[in-house]
C-alpha cells in the first residue's frame, strides 16, 4: 500500500481498527448464536 500523508495514514488506521473490532464482535456473536441454537435443538431432541 502506498504511504499517504500522516493524517491519511492515521485515518486509515482508525478505520481498519474499527472494521476489525466490528468483525470480532460479529464473529463472537455468531459463535455464541450457533452454540445456543445447537443447545436448543439438542434439548428439543434433534433438528
Amino acid at each position: 500500500m502506498a504511504r499517504g500523508r500522516p493524517e491519511e495514514d492515521a485515518e486509515l488506521q482508525k478505520r481498519r481498527r474499527g472494521r476489525n473490532i466490528a468483525m470480532l464482535v460479529v464473529l463472537l456473536g455468531l459463535a455464541l448464536l450457533f452454540y445456543l441454537i445447537a443447545m436448543v435443538k439438542m434439548s428439543q431432541g434433534g433438528g
Binding site: 500500500m1 502506498a2 499517504g4 500523508r5 491519511e8 485515518e11 478505520r15 474499527g18 448464536l33 441454537i37
Partner: protein, 311 residues
C-alpha cells in the same frame, strides 16, 4: 477529518482501506431493515404455537440480515443511478468508499447465510419464503422492474411485504390466512408511501432516468393513485377483524388508522397546484402523508401484536 476521508478515495488507497464499519452498515439500509424487522417480529408473535426465544431471536435476525443483504445487492446494482441522484450520491459505493465487487460479495454472503441459518434454526418454509423475498427484491424489483415501468413500486412492493409471512412460518411451518392478509396490507401500503416521497423527489428520479409515476404520468395522476390505494387499503386492513382472525383492538386501530390515511391522501389530492399539477405548497401534504404512512404501519402492527397479547 472529513477532508482526509474525502481524499482517501483518490490517493491510491484500496477501497477496502477507505471503508469504515459504518459504511458496511450503511450498505445494509438500516432504516428499511428496522421496519422489516418489526413486521417480521409481529408475524412471529401473532402466530399460533411456540418458538424457543433463542430460535425466535435467530429468525428475526435472519429476516434483518436478509433485508440488509437485499439492500446491499440493490446498492451494488443501482450504483450508477445512486451516483446521479442527490439523495443517494454519498452512499458508500458511488462515493468510492466500497468497491462494487466487495459490495456484491458482501450481499451474496449475507443473503446465503441468512437463508441457511433460518433453515437450520426454524424450518424450510420460513427459509424458502425468506429466499423468495430476497430474490423478489433483487431480481424482480431492482433488476427487472425499477428502470422499466412506473408500476415498479406496485409489484416490487411485495418484497417488503414478506416479513410477517416469514415470521409466521418460522413458528408454524406453514403460511396461514392472517399473514397473507398482512402481506396484502403492506403490499397496498407501499405505493402510496413511496409515491408520496416521489412527489417531491421526482427531480432526482427524472435525472437518474427512473420511470417513477410522477416522472411518467405527472403529479396529478400520482395523487389520484395515492388516494385510490388508500381507499382499497382501508377495508382490506379491517378484513382480519371481519373474518374473526383478530380481536377488536386490531380492528378498531385498523379502521381509525386507515380512515386517517384516507384523509391524509385526500389532502394530497386536494393540494393547491398549478395547471401542470405542480404543488404550490412545496408538497406539504405529500410530506405529511409520507411521515404518517410510516407511523401507520408501525402502529397497525403494534396493534396486531397487542391484540394477540390481550386476546
Amino acid at each position: 477529518m472529513k477532508e482526509a476521508a474525502a481524499s482517501l478515495a483518490f490517493s491510491g488507497t484500496t477501497t477496502l482501506d477507505a471503508s469504515s464499519a459504518r459504511d458496511w452498515l450503511e450498505l445494509l439500509k438500516p432504516r428499511v431493515v428496522a421496519l422489516v424487522v418489526f413486521t417480521g417480529l409481529v408475524g412471529l408473535m401473532v402466530a399460533p404455537g411456540h418458538l424457543h426465544p433463542v430460535l425466535a431471536f435467530t429468525a428475526v435476525l435472519c429476516i434483518a440480515v436478509a433485508a440488509g443483504a437485499a439492500g446491499a445487492l440493490n446498492m451494488w446494482y443501482e450504483r450508477d443511478l445512486d451516483a446521479r441522484m442527490r439523495r443517494t450520491a454519498a452512499r458508500p459505493i458511488p462515493a468510492g468508499r466500497i468497491a462494487p465487487g466487495q459490495a456484491l460479495g458482501f450481499g451474496l454472503t449475507l443473503a446465503a447465510g441468512s437463508v441457511v441459518v433460518m433453515a437450520l434454526a426454524t424450518n424450510a418454509v420460513a427459509a424458502g419464503v425468506l429466499a423468495l423475498s430476497i430474490v423478489f427484491y433483487v431480481l424482480v424489483y431492482t433488476v427487472w422492474l425499477k428502470r422499466r415501468t412506473p408500476q415498479n413500486i406496485v409489484i416490487g412492493g411485495a418484497a417488503g411485504a414478506f416479513p410477517p409471512v416469514i415470521g409466521w412460518a418460522a413458528v408454524t411451518g406453514h403460511v396461514g390466512l392472517l399473514p397473507v392478509l398482512m402481506f396484502l396490507v403492506v403490499f397496498l401500503w407501499t405505493p402510496p408511501h413511496f409515491w408520496a416521497l416521489s412527489l417531491w423527489a421526482h427531480g432526482d428520479y427524472a435525472r437518474a432516468g427512473v420511470p417513477m409515476l410522477p416522472v411518467v404520468a405527472g403529479a396529478r395522476a400520482t395523487r389520484r393513485q395515492i388516494f385510490l390505494y388508500t381507499l382499497i387499503l382501508l377495508p382490506l386492513s379491517v378484513l382480519p377483524w371481519a373474518l374473526h382472525l383478530t380481536g377488536p383492538v386490531y380492528g378498531v386501530a385498523a379502521a381509525a388508522l386507515g380512515a386517517w390515511f384516507v384523509v391524509a391522501a385526500w389532502r394530497v389530492l386536494r393540494d393547491a397546484q398549478d395547471t401542470a399539477g405542480v404543488s404550490l405548497t412545496r408538497d406539504a401534504p405529500a410530506k405529511a402523508l409520507f411521515r404518517y404512512s410510516l407511523l401507520y404501519l408501525f402502529v397497525l402492527f403494534a396493534a396486531l401484536a397487542m391484540d394477540r397479547l390481550v386476546g
